[in-house]
């Protein structure tokens, strides 16, 4: 009797495990609406916003000592002109170069140095979607003010994040200017791309540790979005998950005309790709259209996404953009 019960429990666990696995949690496409920014009335200096976890965050005034827990947040802070107000950042924040000289508060393997964060006496900790809610709760318990910036799903969402960070740091005007200039640049790309007829198929490589089953960007990622916007067709857009594995066979059938190496930082190059067994069948390899690419331009959800868009457009349609 208890043996049957045990087997039944086994099967239940098996089914339960397959459930969430069948519908993987999409990390790049948050189901909830974009974070709403409700600015306080102009007369009171305090700032009250609702963050990406649905928490209401209130600051007495613009944040003067900010600790950033994500590289994208660091980039956003500097881009809206709040660089001088940042006192600490996570290990992986490396852009702009000035950020590297700030205090390092950890972040590898998801563990942050809470003591170091507390010792910096921040009045705002800017967390991102790569930080766990556990961490946010822990920092809150230590009396810190934490704002959780949800990952954007579209460029519009990204502009909203810029505006939010501008409000939090007292650089709302500068943020608005930044958003305008970014929109202009994007419009320029759209205008240049619109009349073109050719939309080359693009394979964007994220990881090719196993060259017969490499990883590419699937639907719902910014890579996918920006490739479309830049006048290309993403080979991975028909796959099922954001960080999607594609087999070499499928790749051969898709036959991309352009290969963009997002893993160039890990040593991949046109030569290493051409040397892979079976890859010579691809049009991109035969024509030599294999380009290394700075993945940070399309994976960090900040203003440099527009840099990434322009870079992609230049690779896919050389000469069309100034």
């Amino acid at each position: 009797m208890s043996r049957k019960l045990a087997v039944a429990l086994f099967v239940l666990i098996l089914l339960a495990a397959c459930g969430p696995a069948a519908t993987p949690a999409p990390t790049s496409v948050p189901p909830s609406p974009t974070p709403s920014s409700v600015p306080a009335s102009p007369t009171s200096p305090s700032i009250s916003l609702t963050d990406g976890l649905g928490r209401s965050v209130t600051l007495a005034g613009p944040a003067q000592r900010v600790v950033s827990l994500a590289p994208s947040n660091t980039e956003i802070l500097y881009a809206v002109g709040a660089g001088a107000q940042v006192v600490g950042r996570d290990t992986f924040s490396d852009y702009p170069a000035e950020a590297k000289s700030l205090a390092d508060v950890g972040g590898s393997m998801g563990s942050y140095d809470t003591e170091a964060i507390v010792a910096l006496h921040p009045d705002l900790v800017l967390a991102g979607e790569i930080n766990t809610p556990d961490l946010v709760a822990a920092l809150e318990k230590l009396g810190l003010t934490v704002y959780y910036l949800k990952n954007p799903a579209t460029l519009e969402d990204m502009y909203a994040n810029l505006a939010t960070v501008g409000s939090l740091t007292g650089h709302a005007a500068q943020a608005a200017d930044l958003v305008s200039s970014l929109k202009a640049r994007v419009a320029a790309v759209d205008a240049a791309i619109a009349p073109l007829n050719s939309r080359p198929t693009v394979y964007y490589e994220l990881d090719a540790t196993d060259p017969t089953k490499p990883y590419t960007a699937g639907p719902g990622t910014f890579v996918d979005l920006l490739i479309q916007r830049a006048g290309g067709t993403n080979v991975g857009s028909g796959l099922t998950s954001a960080y999607a594995q594609i087999s070499l066979e499928q790749l051969v059938v898709a036959n991309p005309q352009v290969i963009i190496l997002g893993d160039a930082a890990y040593g991949e190059s046109a030569q290493t790709v051409a040397a892979r067994a079976g890859w010579s069948a691809l049009a991109a390899v035969q024509s030599g259209q294999i380009y290394p690419f700075d993945d940070n331009l399309v994976s960090r959800p900040g203003p440099r996404l527009v840099d990434g868009l322009e870079a992609l457009a230049k690779l896919l349609h050389p000469g069309v953009l100034k």
């Binding site: 393997m109 563990s111 010792a119 998950s241």
Partner: protein, 355 residues
């Protein structure tokens, strides 16, 4: 234990030697606790530590930088020290109990699959996006705890033969379920890549949640589990002679083994829920205690509990400081430090070859 009387007997345990472990091991634990509180990525000068303590005793308010230091001590280091100590205590105690229960020097708290069950529960919970609330934050530890307990019941049910619980069956069922759960866990981790890093970090072990909450949550389970184990010393001694002889000497074997198994598993589950899977403590600390202080489980259990707490505290201090501000998962430190230490201990004790 009583004495032998004088003359003919060679007294083998002087009363000093009997007392030594109960002085040495708590002293070790105390030192480890002090180290854990005093050391962190923010350097607090010893003089300031003294001033903070004086301030607390007087009830006076502290000025900066002492105020921040005091805050760090009270809100970050002390709760973490408490959680790590409790985790180490649970691992040491249940490791000793498992070694006694299975009469096997290779037994550790994860022998019958508790770690794999907890890992599966945790990764399952990580696959969902929980709302930001107290319940949501407790989701992963609760799932890990339930996964651990479910494993024990499953393995127990599979291994039972009538009224008895054969050791071999338990181990086999445990190993089978471990493999199954690990494979399923890996499969889940591959499918939901966003949580992959979080899952890996959890599986390698380390205190993830801060504050006194986890400590208070875990405390009742450990009080019960470890309490039962400490009182089971004599029973474990009897079980070393085998189930049959223990029964012939008057021990109700099936009931006792079940009780000890549940108590040890409860302690392990509580330890794993918040701290992930930390290896070696449960295997090595009881061995060290046995080699130094003898095979009597009435002493071995409390000593392993105290020693486990101290050892994990030391490992955690190392994990926190060696690469600050990066923090090594403490499971890596215990493995790297533990194995060579154990080999050294084995070499040193030539004549005490029996365990």
């Amino acid at each position: 234990m009583i004495g032998y009387g004088r003359s003919t007997l060679r007294p083998y345990i002087f009363s000093m030697r009997r007392l030594t472990p109960f002085l040495a091991v708590p002293a070790f634990l105390l030192v480890a606790i002090l180290l854990s509180i005093a050391i962190g990525s923010v350097f607090i000068p010893p003089a300031d530590l003294g001033r903070i303590l004086a301030g607390w005793l007087e009830g006076a308010a502290l000025a900066e930088p002492l105020k921040t230091f005091a805050f760090i001590l009270l809100s970050i280091r002390m709760p973490r020290t408490a959680l790590v100590a409790l985790t180490g205590a649970a691992l040491g105690g249940s490791g000793a109990a498992y070694q006694g229960l299975f009469r096997n020097p290779l037994a550790d708290p994860y022998l019958i699959g508790v770690a794999s069950g907890a890992g599966l529960g945790a990764v399952l919970a990580m696959s969902f996006h929980w709302p930001y609330s107290t319940l949501g934050l407790l989701a992963v530890p609760a799932a890990a705890f339930l996964g651990a307990l479910a494993t024990v019941f499953l393995v127990y049910a599979l291994a039972r033969v009538g009224k008895t619980l054969p050791t071999t069956n338990l181990i086999l069922a445990g190993v089978a379920f471990s493999s199954f759960a690990s494979a399923l866990t890996s499969f889940l981790m591959l499918r939901s890549t966003g949580e992959l890093q979080q899952a890996i970090a959890w599986l390698l072990g380390g205190a993830t949640q801060a504050g006194w909450g986890p400590v208070l949550t875990v405390l009742p389970y450990l009080a019960i589990g470890l309490g039962v184990l400490v009182l089971s010393g004599h029973a474990l001694n009897l079980l070393q002679f085998g189930d049959e002889q223990a029964q012939q000497l008057g021990l109700p074997v099936a009931r006792t083994r079940t009780l000890i198994l549940l108590a040890a598993s409860l302690s392990t589950a509580a330890a794993v829920a918040f701290s992930g899977v930390i290896g070696f403590i449960g295997l090595i600390v009881p061995h060290v205690m046995r080699l130094w202080f003898g095979p009597d489980y009435r002493r071995l259990l409390p000593l392993s509990i105290l020693g486990g707490a101290g050892a994990l505290l030391v490992a955690d201090v190392i994990a926190r400081s060696v690469l600050a501000p990066q923090e090594l998962p403490v499971g890596i430190v215990t493995a790297l430090a533990g194995a060579p230490f154990f080999l050294w201990i084995l070499r040193r004790s030539k004549n005490q070859g029996y365990w």
